[in-house]
Symmetry: C2
Subunit: 417 residues, 2 copies
């Protein structure tokens, strides 16, 4: 009993059938996302969304999932490795929070904790790839391809290997060794997995995938190139910030005031925004949506430049040199939507200096024992400026998203620890 109705282009609004296995909208070459009949869901007999807090992974959100675990056909396609329902840690004793009187929480997508779910490859990318591989099973796709800065490739390799699908992964030759190596190892251990290393960034990797694999019948699951699957996987990150079952929310559906998010392509922002928007349409929450803060590295900051210049979309920049490897994304086909969301939410975009990222990662590890990744550290490092510029205000409930675990960035970042 899925409530998915159709796909809709984020640019021109053109609609496509829900079961169209498509890439970008052919009208304007912009991404599509999955639409639900929220009115029908709201008025359905059950009176709820099928939320199941006993299910310790991202599939706990029932009818709000693009594949509905309560639907027999969908359930057969769902391929879960335990992703999602990641820990969220109270952190209001962190100096800036204590000093300025705001509530601070860290959502940890990296290292699992007892009693929670566990992203199998230690990053937020697993939410999207669990959905991708489940959708591939639903639609009979057997060959998937992705260009990546690293974590998405690691994730697709894991899911494809376990599900017995083929996956072609292309990533930069300077990707941190635990990630590049994991995928390289999987090419030895699982016959369906292939890896190409490129000089450059995810952009050059994307060109290679197009030329070498899409011509061979591989389906592209690059950021936004698949029909909204990864957005709806990442949507669960937003749902987990709003759900009743965490201490954070005192038993009610409730949204944070501020979300600080490390932004490369921006799928997470689209996904979380979709979560909050759907919850509001369903009447489960009200009040303003969270202010969305996009954090980038000063080394590669196309979104920040576009935001500050008041532009509607980012312009491609030269790739930089950052330990926050996932932020080394010189452009993005969804950036126009990220910019729209940031502005609509009255958030902001800002860039953090490289030296601050490493120092913050080490300091957080020593102070808390959390294995935050450089991208998450960039968000933590941004907090003082966000306070100064009043993007974070006394009384706010602030969530920092830590998208992965530093263990995947060794040995590059070892000297910070």
């Amino acid at each position: 009993m899925s409530f998915v109705t159709h796909l809709r282009c984020l640019g021109c609004g053109r609609e496509y059938p829900a079961d169209e296995v498509m890439n970008l909208c052919p009208e304007d070459n912009l991404p599509v996302q999955i639409c639900f009949d929220l009115d029908a869901l709201k008025n359905s007999g059950s009176g709820d969304i099928g939320y199941n807090p006993e299910r310790k992974n991202m599939w706990r959100f029932g009818h709000l999932m693009a594949l509905d675990p309560a639907d027999e056909n969908d359930a057969r396609s769902i391929f879960s490795l335990g992703e999602g329902y990641t820990p969220i840690y109270p952190w209001s004793d962190y100096e800036p929070a204590k000093k300025h009187g705001f509530e601070l929480w860290l959502k940890d997508e990296g290292r699992p904790a007892p009693g929670f779910g566990a992203n199998p490859t230690g990053s937020f990318k697993d939410r999207g790839m669990a959905m991708v591989v489940s959708m591939a099973r639903k639609f009979g796709l057997e060959k998937l391809a992705v260009p990546t800065q690293g974590n998405a490739g690691d994730s697709l390799a894991e899911y494809a290997a376990q599900a017995g699908l083929s996956a072609a992964i292309a990533m930069p030759d300077n990707t941190p060794l635990p990630i590049l190596g994991k995928v390289a190892a999987y090419t030895r251990l699982y016959p369906g997995i292939s890896l190409d290393v490129v000089q450059g960034t995810i952009r050059e990797a994307g060109e290679l995938i197009k030329e070498k694999y899409l011509t061979q019948g591989y389906f592209s699951v690059a950021t936004f190139q698949e029909p909204g699957w990864r957005i709806d996987g990442k949507k669960t990150l937003g749902l987990e910030l709003a759900e009743p079952a965490i201490p954070f929310n005192d038993g009610a559906w409730r949204m944070p005031d501020v979300i600080v998010y490390p932004t490369g392509g921006g799928t997470g922002i689209l996904g979380m925004w979709k979560a909050f928007s759907e919850l509001r349409v369903l009447g489960l929450t009200d009040g303003p949506l969270p202010r969305i803060i996009a954090v980038q590295s000063e080394a590669t900051a196309p979104l920040v430049q576009a935001f500050e210049a008041g532009r509607q979309d980012s312009e491609a920049v030269e790739a930089g040199d950052t330990i926050a490897f996932g932020l080394n994304v010189p452009g993005g086909i969804g950036h126009f939507e990220v910019l729209r969301i940031i502005r609509e939410s009255q958030g902001t975009a800002l860039a953090v200096a490289e030296a601050e990222i490493g120092a913050t990662l080490g300091r957080v590890f020593k102070d808390t024992g959390w294995w935050i990744c450089p991208e998450g550290a960039a968000c933590v490092a941004a907090i003082p400026r966000l306070v100064d510029e009043q993007h974070i205000r006394p009384g706010d409930r602030v969530v920092v998203i830590n998208t992965g675990s530093w263990e995947k960035y060794l040995p590059n970042i070892r000297h910070y620890l």
Copy 2:
């Protein structure tokens, strides 16, 4: 002005020229080691061994090195990535040491510390492979091959890649991903590096290397198959425990009373013993040599079984299942010599339960911040029994050798941390 004179078989004593690029002794199929003219060195004009404490790597031991940094020809061959001169930490406040009144130190071959050298791949294997690749340069070898439980393969891949040599590496398919992956990644990044994964252990890897690579002109640098190079690389581990320049020794050459060492093939024990023996012949130290304690995992303990049964050599066992991957060595061509050394030193061999290894690794990390590896943790876990059985006694100066860093065993051991 090298003092190397010849090679000598550890079994039959037969001698070979110092520049013979050989494998096992053809007489008895046992390993050879490198011999020095220690009398000439003792009586040489300089009156010292060319010890240079300013050189922050293993090449600080001058004329005692199998390639002498003071010799023009040798110096041209030496290929160093900064290996050796690793930190040694005082640890006498560790509960068993405090309680029973012995001095405890941890020699950390894994994670570097400021002011010391750094094993480039984070394990003790770098000492042997630095020597191997340097010798390969001296003798014009361009293709090296090694079967490995992991760290030795990682190390050879690094040195060969940086030196522009070819290296064929074979390892078990269940090798921890940071190691297997690193080598797999190097096969993509460096044209000379190749990797084969096998089902089984280093034993099966050895068979593959023999059939697939030695027939193609690769030179085997498997444990003890090269002419004593790795022993003399590991010798520096012993020299660093005895050298004057560390607080440990108060400015004199001096030996510890007890060395607790995780033992797979045993090259390290042969190397350290050679160091102490040479220092004694040179008159730099006197008194008894350290008691050598060989620690294995209960999962795979051929040495312990042979020691307890009073046998002269180990018998091959079935490989077990241990997180101390480097200890999963079911037999060893040098075990007869390890057993001889243990007995001569009045040491012992003992096996530690798997559950103890993981728990100890996590406890040491939380208490001290050290990134010890499962093999090192096995040694720490052995301490209470060594005290009970009086292999460690009040007043002893005890050194535990931690052979690597836990970062190379993720994600298998993450839940202990």
